[in-house]
């Protein structure tokens, strides 16, 4: 699996640097390289790393942040019929400082973008971003002067959930995909020990993964009956 590496040092910004800060480079799995050094410590590190990741991915605290319509579907996912607690992500935080991930649920407005950036900066590492809905993914149907054409113009996005709005189930699937990718991540175990880079796994695209199965559907239900 290939990884994207971001180093903390790179994120020290100069005035005319653009968001997202920090250089990204594609690298091989750093864990694999360790294994070459010593089979024993390599295994140990692998176990340790995957335990920490397991803990992280199963207690993701979302930041209570909503922009527009998609937020309503996101809240729907939080309430009982969909029950996000099944995935350990029900501890909604009102402060970015306590949250683990932020869902950009809705349209990203030019007027709001600096605010979003500020809130993102206030979140502590490790942190992740889910972009929910067409507006946040690409501007969606709002190719208009006041809308940023996709939140990834300035934030690093981990998972994109398509839809306008995505169903709550789709959001939950996005959350699970984020969990899968967290399981594969390599982060420093401490801020003084070892390599200080963040290695994010490049996960396969869902569209490509399911394409074969999807195009085999030949019979679609008519909308004439319920």
């Amino acid at each position: 699996m290939t990884y994207t590496l971001t180093r903390v040092e790179d994120a020290l910004a100069a005035e005319n640097d653009r968001y997202p800060l920090g250089e990204r480079q594609r690298v091989e799995d750093p864990m694999q390289q360790q294994v070459h050094r010593s089979v024993f410590t390599g295994k140990l590190e692998e176990v340790l790393n995957s335990t920490v990741n397991w803990g992280r991915k199963n207690s993701l605290w979302p930041y209570n942040f909503g922009l527009s319509c998609c937020y309503v579907e996101m809240t729907t996912a939080f309430t009982s019929p969909h029950d996000i607690a099944r995935f350990g992500a029900e501890v909604i935080r009102a402060s970015p400082r306590q949250a683990d991930f932020m869902v950009i649920a809705g349209t990203c407005f030019v007027k709001m973008a600096p605010v979003i950036q500020q809130l993102y900066d206030q979140m502590l590492e490790p942190k992740w971003v889910i972009s929910m809905g067409s507006c946040a993914n690409s501007g969606g149907m709002y190719d208009i002067y006041s809308v940023v054409q996709g939140v990834d113009k300035f934030l690093p996005v981990d998972v994109y959930v398509p839809g306008c709005p995505p169903r709550p189930e789709a959001f939950l699937q996005g959350l699970q995909l984020l969990q899968d990718s967290i399981q594969e991540e390599r982060r420093p175990l401490s801020w003084v020990v070892g390599d200080q880079g963040v290695y994010r796994a490049e996960m396969p695209s869902q569209r490509e993964k399911h394409r074969d199965r999807r195009i085999q559907v030949t019979e679609l239900r008519t909308p004439d009956s319920i």
Binding site: A13, A14, E15, N16, D17, R18, Y19, L21, N64, F65, G66, L67, S68, C69, Y71, V72, E73, T75, T76, T79, S80, P81, A94, T107, F109, V110, K111, M112, A113, P114, V115, Q117, Q118, L119, G139, M141, Y142, D143, I144, Y145, S146, V147, V148, Q149, K153, F154, C164, P165, R167, P223, D224, S225, I226
Partner: protein
């Protein structure tokens, strides 16, 4: 009351039917509640002298409308105390609704945010009390300025309000909007009449097809289309269903803002049941865009009535339970009774409509006063309350849901037979059978679907009683496939403008209770 105020850029318009020479027109839409009549005043302006005296001394709510006209068209209102931008960021260049301003983001360099730009924008977002004529201290106290929003759990979206506090007491406050401006009015000038429908869904985004209705009705007026009884009834039915889901969302979040965690879980369960019906009928949950010019997207599916009946049977007991558990709860009562109360005169001075107006005892509901889409055929009542406080606004919506359920029941019992598309050449998309006659009809069909219908050059206006108050579309057609100007008047805009007057002298928790009770979504404010 001053119902609406905005402007039109007339410079490119050709069908002007004897209107005087003008580069810009500012219009004032006045509505009399007691007389149930409207007047629209239009003032012609030339490009060289784009200014008018402000009307704030007569109509308080003109304040934001004039700021909006300044922001969008660059029209100055002399004597306005704070003629700042309202929807666009203060660093913005240009006036978006002018015909010479670009519409698409992609006509422009892609958006980037640099570290320096971030500092600059944050600087511009700083609140400066002096700009608003506020003191930083009084004789015996230093005021604290508390910034609530643009992202705050009880601000219901991207809404910001800056409070001037003396201890817990709100001395004054300044709402700041525009964090949710999606340029829907500009968008309408770029979409065909037909393809604008999905954008209307997203104005009041919890109102679903309710938003399609005023637009579609206004277009039908322009085109001269008469729809069948079945279309009317189905439209009413879907609107009322959305009214219920919207009010349920209101109820859950309103109580949550007061600190009650669980109601939102209950009301969202009900919403889910409502959405099951909506999805079975329209194929989509929140934004079905299901109405069409001259009809509906398709007919009702087989078995819709059983589903709907199940929902109608489910709800009454739940509503009773909400009343018993929440509205009769002494904590809820203490937090909301006599909080942010206003009377009818005050409501009208601020342009308040809908349930918030009726909570003051004013019986003005367009479904009765100016029936549209066949509301005159239904048997239902308009619930009223007396005190106009946060409690009444909550209770009234529960009562409204009961009435909506009554309407739904009547729809189930008496659904008329008929076509789901009107028989008119401008119905879009046209009925399929008409296409399959010969090559000529095929070409017409193709043009109408690809370019969209051409509507005669004229103006039309349609208001409806939407979930949150009166929503209206004022369309100006220049005889083409697109609208020349679409003015969308939304109820939440004036509702937010009224906040400072109500909150002066109140406490912070009262503000939260009030925000919960207004029932607004930011898309319905900023569009």
């Amino acid at each position: 009351m001053l119902f609406d105020l905005s402007a039109i850029d007339e410079r490119l318009r050709s069908h002007r039917h004897g209107l005087p020479e003008a580069d810009f027109t500012v219009f004032y839409h006045l509505l009399s509640v007691s007389g149930n009549r409207d007047i629209m005043l239009k003032v012609a302006l030339s490009e060289r002298d784009l200014s008018l005296p402000t009307v704030i001394s007569v109509y308080r709510n003109a304040n934001w409308y004039e700021r909006e006209a300044w922001d969008m068209f660059g029209i100055r209102f002399e004597g306005h105390p704070n003629l700042f931008r309202i929807l666009m960021p203060s660093t913005w260049q240009g006036h978006p609704l002018r015909k010479d301003h670009h519409a698409r983001a992609t006509e422009f360099d892609p958006y980037t945010l640099t570290v320096e730009g971030q500092h600059r924008e944050q600087e511009a977002l700083q609140f400066k009390p002096e700009d608003w004529g506020m003191q930083r201290q009084s004789a015996d106290a230093d005021f604290m300025f508390l910034n609530l929003g643009p992202n705050h759990p009880s601000a219901h979206g991207a809404f910001r309000i800056v409070l001037q506090l003396d201890g817990e007491e709100i001395v004054d406050c300044v709402p700041d909007i525009g964090y949710h401006h999606r340029g829907a009015e500009k968008m309408a000038e770029r979409q065909s009449w037909h393809s604008f429908i999905p954008y209307t869904d997203r104005i009041d985004y919890v109102g679903g097809v309710m938003n399609n209705l005023p637009y579609v009705l206004a277009v039908e007026k322009l085109a001269g289309i008469e729809v069948t009884g079945r279309i009317q009834t189905v439209r009413v039915m879907m609107c009322e269903l959305f009214r219920i889901t919207s009010h349920l969302l209101f109820l859950g979040t309103y109580l949550q803002d007061l600190g009650a965690m669980s109601p939102v879980f209950y009301t969202f369960t009900d919403r889910q049941k409502g959405y099951d019906v909506i999805e079975a009928i329209t194929g989509f949950r929140m934004h079905p865009a299901w109405f069409r010019i001259g009809g509906l997207m398709q007919d009702l599916p087989k078995g819709w009535d059983t589903l709907m009946q199940r929902f109608v049977d489910w709800m009454p007991a739940r509503l009773r339970e909400y009343e018993r558990v929440m509205m009769e709860n002494s904590l809820v009562r203490d937090r909301t009774k006599h909080i942010a109360a206003f009377d009818t005169a005050n409501a009208l001075a601020w342009g308040v409509t809908g349930p918030n107006l009726r909570a003051t005892g004013c019986d003005f509901d367009l479904r009765k006063q100016r029936p549209y889409s066949g509301y005159e055929n239904f048997d239902f009542e308009i619930p009223l309350a007396q005190n106009g406080d946060a409690f009444d606004r909550g209770q009234l919506r529960i009562d409204e849901m009961r009435q909506s359920l009554r309407i739904l029941q009547q729809c189930i019992n008496n659904m008329p037979a008929g076509d789901y598309k009107a028989d008119h050449p401008l119905t879009t998309p046209p009925p399929r059978e008409r296409m399959l006659e010969h090559i000529e009809t095929l070409i017409t069909h193709f043009l109408q679907v690809s370019w969209g219908p051409v509507l005669p050059g004229n103006e039309s206006l349609q208001m409806i009683e939407a979930t949150k108050g009166i929503n209206s579309y004022y369309l100006t057609s220049d005889g083409s496939t697109m609208s020349y100007r679409t003015r969308i008047r939304t109820p939440s805009f004036p509702h937010l403008q009224q906040i400072p007057e109500l909150m002066r002298g109140g406490f912070v928790p009262d503000l939260i209770a009030h925000l919960g009770s207004i029932d607004f979504v930011m898309a319905d404010v900023d569009r």
